[in-house]
């Protein structure tokens, strides 16, 4: 019985330590949230917010429970009973505290967070002693933490949207039919229809282009593969609407094409008879469906390319060789062997593009004109004078339902049908080259694309270096000077540095949380895994605008009051980009034999030790690349943060948008080009250190854009 006793002693010591930590937090740290956030508060404000100085009994509730847990009057009882009491008390105190804070409107602060953590840790330790998760205290604690975070930052915010739709905010009346009223209201059906049409059109074009690219990159001459790679990575590191801006520079009302046509065919144009009125007038044709379509095709093709490219790599050349030895021609082999094998991947790329297009907000916002889609409708329901949260909520729920449905289809249906992955290693052999007509036509598409992208990005970089694109092409540094030369507190610096700081804080947290979720959901069996799985899946499907709306609704009132702080931005980065970490983690873990961890456990290492000594070293590349891509996505985040920023916490994308809205395209693209360069440098550095193919694979896994 020696081990068992020392085990209990260890658990009891840990419970004591956590109780004391919770009590200490009560004694010295601010228990209530501070109005301006922790770092901007005065010392006296901090002091007044400390638990025992707050004129409220709520802080005493968890404190008394923690004090009782420190003493454990039931310690002499049978262990099974004693641990049940610990777990129940810890859990009940958390729920009571949250309910109390909600009912009496007390915003919870740092000390309260520590106390909740302590109560949760105690409950987890006790639950582990009762046999939960194979008696593993650390794992139980992690699972509880993950479940708590998912509940607080995904499920709870979404539930507030739902409540806002079915309960009238002012009168508190229950309005069950409100959702249907909003759905039937003018404009709603059109936005839904527009979104779907756009998403399907974009998905068709990106899938075809992605396929062409992937075919060309894997089977044609190797000469331009590096170039293809760069061009396919570019849109991933580009802020979501900067491509849209470039399209405006080229195709907009005063864009290059309009100017050119005007110069040729407009009034007094070169090709117009002297004195004629000309056949061409300035046109805003780029605004609307075709503009968004073009911008999204540019933005999402790389994702579809990377998905398909990854798949091509897994097809064993021996399958094609087998077909060729049966006297099939190259074309017959492609048609009857290669494409059928690719079919699930093609469907996968298609559905991913649909989800991306539905969620995209930046491009429709800039280029949409009067082509409204769900994501922009959500935004316009809230900004300005309307402030119609019910409508925004109903739109958001609809958008979420559609993305979630497609995501479920993609996951379940494609996940099962993917036979490519089971064929395993290829075992040598050569991939068949394309029939020459195919190779040529693919080449034309690929180089046309590259040329077009080059023009677009050229216009982004040039646009920031000329006086006034479309009117005055004098080279100048005024835009950059305005942004970067006015000191760190002016121009672009505050938002740039703020974005950099928040993204750097969020990135490692995102990677760690995502990989931890991947770890517990793929490696552990426990009661409540369904909830974690479901929350993780929601995080994959939730569009940024929906998240933004849900966060303002959820976090501008106690118990978790975060509106206006930088913390809410960090939180939104983390939960928005969590899928990156989860995907990377799942794929990296699938490469690591589970018995390595089990071997460590049977070597008397606890699970924390196992993770540190065995799992982390093997996962290091995955953690690095997940961090990098979380960083990039946080730097370019837009659709959720636009709802959450304030003048103090402005980020790069919202700053650029503000300049666009004021018509300062020169400044906007100047900023955009600096942002692109920043991320290009970061990703190339990482590419260099972590290794090429790996980063590329991770990008494919990371998918999407903000």
């Amino acid at each position: 019985m020696i081990i068992s006793t020392s085990d209990s002693a260890r658990t009891e010591r840990a419970i004591l330590a956590w109780s004391l930590a919770g009590l200490a937090a009560f004694a010295v740290l601010p228990w209530r949230a501070l109005d301006y956030g922790l770092f901007d508060a005065l010392p006296s404000e901090l002091w007044d917010a400390v638990g025992w100085r707050v004129a409220d009994w709520l802080p005493w509730l968890p404190t008394v429970v923690l004090a009782v847990l420190a003493v454990r009057p039931w310690r002499a009882a049978a262990p099974a009973l004693a641990y049940r009491i610990d777990a129940a008390l810890g859990g009940a105190a958390i729920l009571a505290l949250l309910a109390g804070a909600k009912i009496w409107g007390v915003p919870l602060g740092l000390a309260a967070a520590i106390q909740i953590t302590a109560l949760g840790a105690i409950a987890a330790l006790a639950a582990a002693r009762l046999g939960y998760v194979q008696g593993d205290g650390f794992m139980t604690g992690s699972i509880l933490l993950i479940a708590g975070l998912i509940a607080a930052f995904i499920l709870f915010p979404l539930s507030t949207i739902l409540i806002r739709v079915v309960v009238d905010f002012k009168t508190g009346e229950f309005t069950p039919f409100r959702f249907f009223e909003i759905v039937m209201s003018p404009g709603f059906g059109r936005a839904l229809w527009n979104s779907l049409v756009l998403a399907i059109a974009v998905a068709v074009s990106t899938t075809i282009l992605g396929l062409v690219f992937a075919l060309y990159a894997t089977r044609a001459t190797a000469r331009f593969r590096g170039l293809i790679r760069i061009f396919s990575i570019l849109p991933i590191i580009t802020p979501p609407f900067v491509v849209g801006l470039a399209l405006i520079l080229i195709f907009g009302r005063s864009g290059t094409i309009n100017d050119g046509l005007l110069a040729l065919f407009g009034s007094g144009g070169l090709l117009v008879p002297e004195g004629g009125s000309g056949w061409f007038q300035r046109s805003g044709y780029i605004y609307g469906f075709w503009g968004i379509f073009l911008a999204q095709t540019l933005a999402f093709t790389p994702v579809s390319y990377l998905v398909l490219h990854g798949l091509f790599g897994t097809i064993s050349p021996s399958l094609e060789e087998a077909s060729l030895t049966m006297r099939a021609s190259d074309w017959q082999t492609l048609r009857h062997v290669t494409f059928p094998l690719l079919r699930p991947g093609i469907a996968n790329a298609f559905l991913l593009s649909v989800i991306e297009s539905l969620a995209d907000f930046g491009n429709p916002l800039i280029l949409g004109g009067d082509y409204d889609v769900l994501s922009t409708e959500i935004y316009f329901s809230i900004v300005g004078a309307r402030l119609d949260y019910a409508r925004a909520g109903a739109l958001g729920l609809t958008l979420l339902a559609v993305s979630l449905a497609i995501f479920v289809i993609q996951n379940r249906w494609i996940g099962r049908k993917s036979y490519v992955t089971v064929t395993g290693k290829g075992g040598g052999g050569h991939l068949m080259p394309l029939p020459s007509w195919m190779q040529n036509s693919c080449g034309v598409v690929v180089y046309a694309w590259i040329a077009f992208t080059a023009v677009l990005y050229g216009s982004i970089f040039m646009g920031g270096l000329v006086a006034n694109w479309g009117a005055d092409y004098t080279p100048t540094f005024t835009h950059h000077a305005e942004l970067w030369a006015a000191g760190l507190n002016y121009g672009g610096w505050p938002s740039y540095l703020n974005t950099l700081k928040l993204a750097l804080i969020a990135a490692p947290l995102t990677a760690v949380l995502g990989i931890l979720i991947a770890y517990v959901t793929t490696r552990k069996r426990f009661v409540g895994r369904g909830l974690v799985d479901f929350g993780a899946m929601l995080s994959f499907a939730i569009p940024g605008t929906v998240m933004g709306v849900s966060y303002i609704l959820a976090f501008n009132v106690p118990p978790i009051q975060l509106t206006g702080t930088a913390l809410i931005l960090v939180v939104s980065f983390i939960f928005r980009n969590m899928p990156v970490g989860i995907r990377t983690g799942v794929s990296a873990l699938s490469q690591i034999d589970k018995s390595l961890e089990e071997a460590s456990l049977t070597q008397r290492a606890g699970s924390l030790r196992t993770i540190i000594s065995v799992v982390l070293p093997l996962l290091r590349p995955a953690i690095i690349s997940a961090s990098v891509y979380s960083f990039i996505r946080a730097m370019t985040a837009f659709s959720a943060v636009i709802f959450l920023v304030t003048a103090q916490t402005n980020v790069a994308t919202t700053y650029i948008l503000a300049r666009v809205e004021r018509g300062n395209y020169g400044v906007a693209v100047a900023y955009g080009s600096v942002l692109i360069l920043t991320m290009l440098i970061v990703s190339m550095l990482i590419d260099h250190f972590v290794g090429r193919s790996r980063v590329q694979r991770r990008v494919a896994l990371a998918g999407g854009n903000a």
Partner: protein, 362 residues
């Protein structure tokens, strides 16, 4: 090398394991003697690995209790059970050297560096790998990796050692010598060991006791000889070596059992209580069947369908009363070609009557 500390037994009481809705281990009671090497033997998928993982604490039992010595470990995590395991895939850490792999458990226990190095060197020497410490795992052959895994398991002097098909990744020749080495180490240390295999000859060679499993239940427990000579069911008879399952009549006559097979009357010295009488099925080992020309002796008659010369013996397939019978006849006996009519002369030593009926092993 390692003091034979008071070794302890293992006890499973009413252990059941259900994955989703699939009952993989069905209410098993099993006692493993302290200091013994017990094998779990059974066809693939019958739950052997699952039992091992339940003992190790890598799976939680759906119901029932597991005892190691006098301690109920059912709710204890793997790292607190004092159990070491040699995995089928070896599970050696690829980012550590051989020495670091073997010393991992010591490092976890905060054993000082000097003592650790010393014990690692000794453990490696014990498995015949002295001097291999600084190498990385991918620089070792399969057999060497196997030895590293054994050294890593032994170094903590655990109460219980678990082996999950440790030889399945080795070639036949290496398998033979490795199993002897494992047996020897186990005897020397006296650590209670459970050894999983689906290979009956391996089980017979290394074990003190064999537990034959069938679809999540225990089919029979016994010494290797017991199981071979006195299988309790058709399943065990066919799984432990080859056996013909034939219809027979059984009659108890004092201390002997008289078995009638197709006119032959065989007297078996085995007359344990509980064996059936009347119509029954019996197992007949192929090497206990001799062939004689038809009519020379009393016994079941048949026709040779095929015969194959395999060096030390001739193998026959005989059609006998509508059933196929397999016989192995040592070289030097008369040979019968296909189509010959023969009578089977059966040596009672190779005949077993079952206490229970059951399907033969697939």
């Amino acid at each position: 090398m390692i003091a034979t500390a008071a070794s302890v037994g293992i006890r499973l009481q009413g252990v059941t394991k259900v994955f989703d809705t699939n009952t993989v281990i069905d209410n098993i009671d099993l006692t493993i003697r302290s200091g013994s090497l017990t094998t779990l033997l059974g066809p693939s998928g019958c739950g052997k690995t699952t039992i091992l993982r339940l003992i190790a604490g890598l799976e939680t039992a759906t119901s029932g209790q597991i005892w190691i010595g006098d301690q109920d470990v059912t709710a204890l995590s793997a790292s607190h059970r004092d159990v070491a395991m040699v995995f089928q895939s070896y599970a050696l850490f690829p980012h550590m050297t051989v020495g670091e792999n073997v010393g991992y458990g010591l490092k976890v226990q905060n054993v000082p560096r000097a003592e650790r190095d010393e014990r690692v060197a000794k453990a490696l020497a014990d498995v015949g790998l002295a001097g291999f410490g600084p190498r990385y795992i991918d620089q070792m052959s399969g057999g060497q990796q196997q030895r590293v895994a054994v050294a890593r398991a032994l170094i903590l002097q655990p109460k219980v050692m678990l082996f999950d098909e440790p030889l399945s990744n080795l070639d036949t020749k290496l398998r033979r010598s490795m199993r002897e080495d494992i047996r020897e180490l186990q005897q020397k240390t006296g650590i209670t060991s459970v050894y999983v295999t689906h290979d009956q000859s391996e089980a017979l060679a290394v074990s003190d006791e064999v537990v034959v499993m069938d679809a999540g239940r225990i089919a029979q427990i016994g010494t290797p000889e017991d199981l071979y000579r006195r299988p309790g069911s058709a399943f065990v008879a066919t799984f432990m070596g080859e056996a013909n399952i034939l219809d027979a009549t059984v009659e108890r006559q004092g201390a002997t059992l008289v078995v009638g097979i197709g006119g032959a009357r065989l007297e078996l010295a085995d007359a344990r209580p509980g064996l059936p009488e009347g119509e029954a099925q019996v197992a007949v080992r192929p090497e206990s069947i001799r062939l004689v020309a038809e009519g020379r002796v009393q016994g079941p008659a048949g026709t040779v369908k095929a015969c194959a010369y395999v060096g030390a013996a001739t193998e026959y397939e005989i059609e006998c009363a509508g059933a196929g019978v397999f016989a192995i006849v040592p070289a030097g006996q008369p040979v019968f070609g296909p189509g010959s009519r023969v009578t089977l002369a059966i040596d009672p030593v190779g005949v077993a009557v079952f206490a229970e009926t059951g399907r033969p092993a697939a």
